[in-house]
Amino acid sequence: MTEQARIEELKTGNEAAFRNLVEEFQKRVYNTCVGLLQNTEDAEDVTQEVFVSVFQSIHGFKGESRLSTWIYRIAVTKSLEFTRAKNRKKRFAFVQSIFSGEGEIKTDTPHFYHPGVQLENKERAAVLFAAIDQLAENQKTAFILHKLEDLSYQEIAEVMNVTVSSVESLMFRAKQNLQKKLGDYYEKNEK
């Protein structure tokens, strides 16, 4: 079946076609969300949101990009929205704790141990994930899609709706920033 035929079938609301789509893409969506959110429970919730959104908006999908690109785009957008909302809540709770005088709130998030990382790299990967979490959204997205999802720069460019050279520049800056952050981290921990 061609992709166009598949899209047309999805547009008719065929449940079996939609189940096939979920089964085919859920692993990629879930892993992208895990990388961006650094939390498996949140990733599960956001993955559900992604497919609900796919179902709701498939009628508006014009087929200008590949289906996989479109789904990745939704996954990235939903994950970033979720992170922003979570950060807003954290900030609000922090401000509230100051005014109510309920003592200090722990703002540091614990390290994320990705279950797919090789055992000997667990600690280092956790430090790297903490540094990734501090990157700008677009650098973080490009880095995660490349490192975790193994997407090419061309594919990342399509997902992020930017040029390939922009992705190259984002990746370069992401690596540079990560090295700087890791440098600071190890300097602080050596003392």
Binding site: G13, Y30, V52, L128, E187
Partner: protein, 94 residues
């Protein structure tokens, strides 16, 4: 290479060979359940247009009725004024 640089390089390479995670078993069913619940309330574009057209028609009919009612109430008011003018026509205005 200094210890710090070695640490950075090793950390940067720590995601090499990362394994994709398996999706939680109940995820597909949870998505399908949510979609089935939504199916009843999701409107397709052609239905959306039909609903919009019906609403426009309803508003149009209501406006016309209101206009008609205003016109007829104006006529009734004029009739009432004519009758009262006729009835009090014998009185001398101050």
């Amino acid at each position: 290479m200094s210890t710090k640089e070695t640490q950075i390089t090793k950390t940067m390479q720590s995601l090499d060979g990362i394994r994709s995670l398996e999706v939680p078993a109940a995820l597909t069913q949870s998505v399908m359940d949510r979609v089935s619940d939504m199916k009843m309330i999701v409107l397709r574009p052609q239905f959306t247009w039909a609903v919009a057209a019906s609403l426009a028609l309803l508003i149009g009919i209501n406006s016309l009725t209101l206009l008609q009612y205003n016109r007829s109430s104006d006529n009734a008011k004029q009739a009432r004024q004519a009758i009262s003018a006729e009835y009090f026509s014998y009185t001398v205005p101050f």
